[in-house]
């Protein structure tokens, strides 16, 4: 039986976040990995403001790091991969992780320059080869995702976080392989702020030892069909849906979350062609976004 534990936050103060982090971490055996380190892996893929719920609240990451660091013999690191939108160095700086590493003993882990370990992972239906960054292969990894809708996978709550730390644009199979290979020791879901088409100060955190259970629960919370999420569908022939949720009411949380249609990238081809046709007929000028090519970089 998989249990997801939760804690409500009365407010988002440092004290509340720390108490909640402690209540979760006390339940899990978060022992350092072979390199003597626990690696926190938050969602920090773009400099969205944390109050949008689209990235992990850095203050929650700080709280988790503080709790772990207070335990003896635990080195804590925070790792974020670069994405196609921004390099990890700037993303983490803008989100305040530089301050975290400067003000504490937490290490910043550079996944981009880390050596990679080629691993062939045998899944139920296929074998997938992935190159896992060394710190994730050796450390005791704790994904710390935010609860958010994801345009590509419906939900991204730990499993996708792991997948994207290994492959920039992972396939569902690569996500499963990353999860299997990295085998996180626990997953802490940050619900201090959430995003389901609209931001919300949702004031909860959740955790479990089984990242698949967290992802399944998160899918239900954001209204994504776990059966329809390609990386979750009949995951590896096992039932990893949480059979118990303690400490919070998943039903109440799900009911409280806004259900707004997430913004989608517009296909502006029609607009571009239409405007060019209009400009050709009228003699008008064309806005640069419809001209294509060239920018100010």
């Amino acid at each position: 039986m998989t249990t997801v534990h939760g804690a409500k936050l009365t407010d988002l103060s440092a004290e509340s976040l720390r108490a909640a982090a402690e209540s979760l971490l006390d339940r899990y055996d978060v022992a350092p990995g072979g390199d003597g380190r626990v690696v926190l892996l938050p969602d920090a893929h773009y400099p969205f403001h944390p109050s949008t719920g689209l990235v992990t609240n850095p203050e929650f990451v700080r709280a988790v790091a503080d709790v772990l660091a207070d335990r003896s013999d635990v080195d804590v690191g925070v790792a974020c991969p670069s994405t196609e939108w921004i390099d990890a160095e700037r993303a983490t700086r803008f989100l305040g992780y530089d301050r975290l590493t400067e003000e504490t003993d937490v290490d910043a882990i550079d996944l981009d320059s880390a050596d990679r370990r080629s691993r062939t992972v045998h899944l139920t239906r296929e074998s997938v080869t992935i190159d896992v960054p060394g710190p994730l292969a050796e450390g005791a990894v704790v994904p710390v995702p935010t609860l958010r809708h994801d345009a590509e996978f419906g939900v991204a709550a730990g499993m996708v976080t792991l997948g994207r730390a290994v492959v920039a644009s992972p396939s569902p199979e690569e996500i499963r392989a990353a999860v299997r290979e990295i085998d996180p020791v626990a997953t802490l879901l940050d619900g201090s702020y959430t995003y389901t088409g609209e931001p919300r100060k949702s004031r909860f955190v959740m955790g479990a030892e089984n990242v698949v259970a967290v992802e399944n629960l998160a899918a239900l919370l954001v209204g994504a069909d776990p059966e329809g999420a390609p990386h979750l569908d009949s995951y590896e022939g096992e039932s990893n849906r949480p059979t118990a949720v303690e400490g919070v009411s998943a039903r109440e949380i799900a009911a409280s979350l806004p259900r707004k249609e997430p913004r989608r990238a517009g296909d502006d081809r029609a607009m571009r062609l239409g405007y060019k046709l209009y400009a050709a007929v009228s003699g008008d000028n064309t806005p640069p976004q419809y001209l294509g090519g060239g920018d100010d970089e």
């Binding site: 773009y46 803008f94 989100l95 997430p262 913004r263 009228s282 000028n285 064309t286 640069p288 970089e297």
Partner: protein
């Protein structure tokens, strides 16, 4: 009347707007452009530009031009505008006119020595709703205006979800930009306030950052007009998700008899406005007329008006409506606002001395 031969330094997104607009002004020919990016140069060639350069200094030295548009990043404005003036060109500069008051003065001094005109692309005063608001204000429609609020907030260098563009680089470097929301958006707003109320001075300012950026992404400034006594609150910010065609911008005049809002003079629906004006433009063309350039976009039309006014002023040998003096004043006001807020973006500029150049922080940025 001889044709005005112009060059454009920088044909990225805003530069290509100026390129298209310049081509529509009677008696103006775009002879050459310069841009470091080959794709920008290729794009300019599709508009019939005969000569392109990768280095704007080469363009200025080789071309015989009457005027130049500077649409380069802000850290190049002073250098490019000064060089252009020294080459005898009238110069139209994108905002901000300069990164610091010292750079702005350098451009103005160079233009004065060379006897050329300067213009600055302060477009907000050219937006239709602002022009109508100004008309009503000038008519005395609400009496004296003791208080007003002017605001412009956008997403700055970041995108809203879903992200479609990489995060830019130099746009996040205050050394390149001159600062954050104040220098990028505040300059426009200071220009509007001076346009409405005459000389204003900064009374108070505060800046904040929502992320760990090297500059401010939100600022509020209180200014007072020495001429009218009006107290204005200026808000500018780089932090909000903006969904075109709607923009977060407003000007509210709380007068003695009533309140005027800029939104009152905007189209109710910008998409409907785009459709309507597109149809009208096609009709004009079919009947042998000229379109209202960029009118469907609503906001780009202000760039057309600003450049047209500058080029017409140059042709008619008169002071442009938004000249170097206006540009200098807005940058000085930004500098005063940074000082009042106790925030220094940390832009170092060079001042020429008799013995060479030296870093000069200066009393005013």
């Amino acid at each position: 009347m001889n044709e005005l031969q112009i060059g454009i330094l920088g044909v990225g997104n805003i530069g290509v707007v100026h390129l298209q607009n310049a081509r529509t002004v009677d008696g103006v020919a775009v002879e050459a452009v310069a841009d470091a990016l080959p794709e920008n140069r290729r794009r300019a060639e599709t508009f019939g530009v005969g000569r392109t350069y990768s280095d704007y200094e080469d363009l200025l030295r080789r071309e015989e031009l009457d005027a130049v548009i500077v649409a380069l990043p802000p850290f190049l404005h002073a250098e490019a505008a000064t060089l252009a003036a020294e080459e005898g060109c009238h110069v139209f500069v994108e905002k901000p006119f300069a990164r610091t008051a010292e750079e702005a003065r350098r451009i103005v001094d160079a233009a004065d020595r060379a006897g050329v005109r300067l213009g600055v692309d302060h477009t907000i005063r050219y937006q239709t709703e602002m022009q109508r608001l100004k008309e009503r204000y000038d008519e005395g429609a609400v009496g004296h205006v003791p208080l007003c609020v002017l605001s412009r907030i956008n997403n700055g260098p970041f995108g809203s979800p879903p992200v479609t563009e990489p995060v830019p680089t130099w746009q996040l470097d205050p050394e390149a930009t001159g600062g954050g929301a104040l220098i990028d958006l505040g300059v426009h707003l200071f220009d509007v306030l001076e346009w409405f109320f005459g000389d204003v001075e900064v009374c108070h300012a505060e800046t904040t950052r929502q992320l760990d950026l090297a500059y401010e992404d939100a600022a509020t400034v209180t200014v007072k007009s020495g001429e009218t006594g009006t107290l204005a609150t200026l808000n500018c910010g780089f932090y909000q998700w903006e969904e075109p065609p709607d923009v977060n911008m407003y000007f509210r005049l709380d007068g003695i008899t009533d309140t005027l809002r800029s939104e009152q003079f905007m189209p109710n629906n910008l998409l409907a406005h785009a459709g309507r004006s597109a149809v009208e433009n096609v009709a004009k063309r079919l009947t042998g007329g000229e379109p209202d350039y960029f009118e469907p976009t609503y906001f780009y039309r202000a760039h057309y008006r600003a450049l047209r006014d500058f080029l017409l002023a140059v042709r008619e040998n008169r002071r442009p409506p938004v000249s170097g003096e206006e540009g200098l004043k807005t940058v000085e006001l930004v500098s005063d606002a940074y000082d009042a807020a106790g925030f220094d973006p940390g832009v170092e500029t060079e001042t020429e001395t008799e013995t060479g150049t030296a870093a000069d922080g200066g009393e005013r940025r």
